[in-house]
């Protein structure tokens, strides 16, 4: 394998690796606009110029494959490359508007960051602002994206994303020379279900997300790594939040799951989790005060579920719950005093789990953890919701514990909603753990508010069996608590010993007891190692000063 030296540090890489990839692996920061690890290299921005021993000219690091014994010097160490990159930056700023304060990209703008870099930025401008070429501003490209052609640096990442990744090919450059500008044909609204990624790949403020635009300056945001719960793909995301409010969700790069992309539905799924009418305190139907405290609520739930005579306890989990929640749910069911009926299926989740909705990311199973529930043995022989409903109608079920999360992408199917409503109507002793106030859950004897996605920590097992960590970004609203804590309370009422409700310890138990997770270590799970692109904290110099906010 070729051995390459970059800035005096050596690395061995596979043949065909480009210099910039080798440098990224070494942690040598080579400035770039057009290079993106998940797009084909185009080499048009000329920012990644490096000096290579034996080359007559500077080479573009993104499109030059490494050769054995190659000695490369980045702009950090090579005056020649530094001068060249400085020249390119100067060119990029010739016609770029200098209105960073009102540009929504400020704070996460590559152009801004590179200009401020002491090794190759900070040139003195020789251009009169009046001489700049002006282009169109604030062009509406549909419900997701706003284009400012003047701020474009023509890196063509968006064009390549649209042509090669999402396949819609809706963007192209028009005109020539310094009048080149980005355009969607006839300014039509983008129909791409992945259009949100265009704002992510844009290194400057040309393509901005309509949903996030002007909402918050990025240096105010706090970041939490998570995994999208919109479908069974399990795309890695980063939740950006401020003052306990989610402001946006952006994809995190994980080549084995979602590359650097996420669908628009998943990107906006946090609105479903945070929006709607959240259940914020324990609520009960007949016989209990309308709003009760947690200690009373757990006691009431315990009584509801245990005083059921000889009839079995039905426990219906959810494929949207974390593995840890499902583990505690299973333990609760197993420790029930009589026969129990444990399942999680509402409809066809298990059959749909791997089925694609399109060629890129979306899958038809809109639950993030179907496979996790299967691995935990929740898909029993007796069947899920339809079978339970049948049994309930003949009075075979004594009590029901239902964990239910409404889908974050799309609506719950009418059949499932109706099935749940009828099940609750047929089982008078029912406890529901849920996030939202939903009409079809109103028949429950007791509803307990639990944390939604982004409000609790845990793991999901995606369609391919990859186990990934979701971290807690914000605090659940009102009195809601993580489902693990509620279930731990219930188990405690049963066996007078409180189990661990901590995600890490619960996962350790999973790794011990469930064959599919044999030998896994919470700290080593994929989601912890996947990276954001550009890597967080490296390109965003603006964050550091306001980290305390």
């Amino acid at each position: 394998m070729p051995m390459v030296t970059i800035d005096g540090r050596q690395i061995e890489v596979e043949p065909g690796t480009s210099i910039i990839q080798a440098a990224d692996r070494l942690g040598v920061e080579i400035p770039r606009f057009c290079y993106h690890p998940d797009l084909r290299p185009e080499g048009n921005c000329r920012m990644c110029l490096v000096e290579v021993d034996g080359f007559a000219r500077l080479a573009v690091a993104c499109a030059t494959p490494v050769a054995d014994g190659m000695v490369v010097r980045s702009p950090h160490t090579s005056p020649q490359a530094s001068q060249a990159v400085n020249g390119v930056l100067e060119f990029l700023l010739v016609n770029h508007p200098l209105d960073c304060p009102i540009c929504d990209q400020a704070g996460e703008c590559s152009l801004q960051d590179f200009y401020m870099h002491p090794d190759y930025g900070l040139h003195k401008s020789h251009v009169d602002p009046a001489e700049k070429v002006h282009k169109r501003k604030r062009i509406d490209l549909g419900p997701r994206i706003v284009l400012d052609a003047e701020r474009c640096v023509m890196c063509s990442r968006c064009v390549r994303f649209s042509a090669d990744v999402s396949g819609k090919a809706e963007l192209q450059f028009i005109q020539r020379g310094n009048h080149v500008e980005l355009m969607a044909f006839e300014d039509r609204a983008l129909e791409d279900p992945y259009a949100g990624n265009l704002a992510d790949v844009c290194p400057v403020g040309a393509l901005t997300s309509r949903d996030f635009r002007f909402k918050r300056r990025v240096w105010h945001l706090e970041h939490t790594n998570s995994v999208c719960a919109g479908c069974s793909t399990g795309c890695n995301v980063r939740i950006d939040h401020f003052q306990n409010h989610i402001e946006r969700v952006v994809p995190r790069r994980n080549p084995s799951v979602n590359s650097s992309w996420i669908c628009d539905e998943g990107r906006l799924s946090w609105q479903a989790a945070q929006g709607g009418e959240r259940l914020t305190q324990p609520a009960s139907g007949g016989g209990y005060p309308p709003e009760i405290r947690w200690s009373e609520a757990v006691k009431a739930a315990h009584e509801l579920l245990t005083d059921r005579g000889e009839r079995p306890l039905a426990v219906l989990g959810s494929a949207s719950a974390t593995n840890e929640t499902l583990l505690l749910l299973r333990r609760y069911a197993e420790q029930a005093h009589s026969e129990h009926w444990l399942d999680f299926r509402l409809a066809e989740e298990v059959q749909l789990v791997g089925e694609r909705e399109d060629q890129l990311l979306r899958r038809r199973d809109k639950h993030p953890n179907t496979l996790g529930a299967v691995y935990l043995g929740l898909a029993g022989a007796r069947g899920g919701l339809p079978a339970m409903l049948e049994a309930a109608q003949t009075g075979e079920i004594g009590a029901l514990l239902l964990v239910y999360y409404p889908p974050l992408v799309g609506e719950e199917s009418a059949g499932v909603a109706e099935g749940i409503a009828r099940l609750l109507a047929n089982v008078p002793r029912s406890v529901v753990l849920t996030t939202h106030r939903l009409p079809y859950l109103q028949g429950a004897a007791l509803q307990l508010p639990v944390a939604a996605w982004s409000e609790e920590e845990g793991t999901y097992t995606n369609f391919a069996g990859t186990v990934q960590v979701v971290e807690r970004a914000i605090i659940p609203p009102g009195m809601s608590r993580p489902a693990t804590a509620v279930l731990a309370d219930l188990v405690e009422h049963q066996v007078y010993r409180r189990p661990d409700a901590d995600a890490e310890r619960l996962f350790a138990e999973l790794a011990r007891t469930v064959p599919a997770y044999q030998g896994m270590d919470y700290a080593m799970l994929d989601s912890r190692t996947a990276t954001t692109y550009p890597p967080e904290g490296r390109m965003h110099y603006g964050q550091e000063g306001f980290a305390g906010r």
Partner: protein, 455 residues
């Protein structure tokens, strides 16, 4: 002087197959088809033929880079997107002797094993494209081209494609992109077209004039061709003389012919008896030569290189003593600013910036330091672009500024007007440049318009 390319150029109706065949057309192809591709490449290598598009790369070597995988198609693209300012030789060849070019295409296709060749012509050549199409059909109908050329196993489909009028389409990979139906953005090399070219297959792109030489090489032999010209620049060259000469036009000269001799004998000297001021010897993208520098220069690759310029495409633009060099340079810079495809940053922004600075210089609104700024911008473009257009745009700026600096300095405001930088911006003092005597002379040019009209 031996004519290689223009033997039949004045023959009436040479575009018609019957007339061309009487002149010996397709004789070269007949001989080429008797040779194996390897022998053919060896023959052309022995002839010393070098690419006539501008870079002068040995044609035989270019062909020898083609190593297709078994079953992989190979493409030959003939570059007739002749957009270099001052160049009009391919137009001349295609118009007057299309069969010579078609024959060259067929010979080259045989050498590299291409079954499909494209003749990519610039959009402005639409009228001659019809004639070339007619010639092609005639030759195909006669069994010379198309399936089983001249009764052999070799088959070749030639397709004529018109561009839409962009300079960048004459660039090798830009042409390939354009032919694929994409925006003509040149590609980053490596990979080279010889490996990943047209539709990602091995591809050779040759200039029209290069291919037109092949017939002669096959008919008369590589030795006869190599005997023409100098040691390293063999054969002849079509030169296109334009500008301030009495008889502008396309002339064929043997390599090694003295440059000024060609001006004097072929183009009948500088018009109106004026003195020669400068000459751009190979299209606007090569450095200009002053009259003194041009004196010892011969028309061949090495002599041009020794003089610090290039033979390029052979488009020679002549300036007489009345020429306003800043204005001429502005015209050239505006051409490159307009034709920069906008793909890579230095060329996209730099060409426009240089044109902007020159525009204000010529308008009498120059600022102190503008000449240094031009050179600095040029230095930041040069060697940092994807294709040669960036370098091409810098060569004239640098050479004009170096060789005619006093003319540019005269456009700058007097030094005492120089205030602090922030005050100077946008308020450059106006000088009375528009009334300068040089301009008057230029405007009252009696014939053929001002000398820079040819640019």
């Amino acid at each position: 002087m031996t004519n290689v390319l223009t033997r039949h150029i004045e023959q009436r109706d040479q575009a018609r197959l019957a007339v061309a065949l009487r002149g010996g057309a397709y004789e070269g192809l007949r001989r080429a088809l008797k040779l194996s591709p390897a022998e053919l490449i060896a023959e052309v290598t022995a002839s010393g033929l070098r690419g006539r598009g501008g870079a002068g790369f040995p044609t035989g070597r270019k062909w020898s880079f083609i190593h297709p995988q078994p079953g992989q198609p190979v493409y030959l693209l003939c570059n007739a997107d002749e957009s270099e300012p001052g160049t009009f030789k391919d137009h001349y060849l295609l118009k007057h002797d299309p069969h010579l070019v078609l024959e060259g295409i067929a010979i080259a296709a045989h050498a590299i094993g291409a079954a499909k060749a494209y003749l990519y012509m610039r959009g402005e050549y639409a009228s001659i494209a019809r004639d070339v199409q007619a010639a092609l059909q005639e030759a195909s109908a006669a069994g010379i081209l198309g399936d089983h050329c001249l009764g052999t196993d070799f088959s070749l489909q030639i397709e004529i494609q018109l561009g839409a009028g962009a300079y960048i389409c004459g660039e090798e990979t830009g042409l390939i992109q354009s032919l694929e139906g994409k925006r003509a953005y040149p590609r980053v090399r490596p990979p080279f077209p010889a490996v990943h070219g047209f539709v990602d297959q091995p591809t050779v792109v040759n200039n029209v004039e290069t291919l037109a030489n092949l017939s002669y090489i096959l008919v008369e032999g590589a030795q006869a061709f190599a005997a023409l010209g100098t040691d390293r620049s063999t054969g002849t060259k079509l030169i296109c003389i334009s500008g301030a000469v009495a008889r502008p036009g396309v002339y064929e000269v043997e390599m090694g012919y003295p440059l000024l001799e060609a001006l004097r004998r072929e183009a009948a000297g500088v018009r109106l008896g004026r003195r020669l001021k400068a000459i751009i010897p190979g299209g606007t993208s090569v450095p200009v030569l002053t009259a003194e520098e041009a004196a010892p220069v011969m028309i061949d690759y090495e002599s041009m290189q020794a003089a610090g310029t290039m033979l390029g495409s052979g488009g020679m633009i002549v300036f007489d003593e009345t020429a306003d060099m800043p204005k001429a340079l502005l015209r050239i810079a505006e051409f490159y600013a307009h034709e920069s495809c906008g793909e890579c940053t230095p060329c996209r922004e730099g060409t426009g910036w240089m044109a902007w600075v020159l525009r204000r210089l010529v308008a009498g609104e120059g600022r102190p330091g503008d000449l240094e700024l031009l050179l600095r911008v040029g230095g930041n473009i040069e060697g940092r672009t994807i294709c040669g257009l960036g370098d091409a745009s810098v060569q004239p700026v640098r050479s004009f500024l170096q060789k005619f600096r006093p003319e540019f300095e005269a456009l700058l405001p007097p030094a005492r007007d120089a205030g602090p930088e922030w005050q100077r911006h946008g308020h450059g003092p106006r000088t009375a440049r528009h009334g300068a005597p040089g301009d008057e002379a230029l405007r009252s040019e009696p014939v053929d318009g001002p000398p820079d009209a040819a640019l």
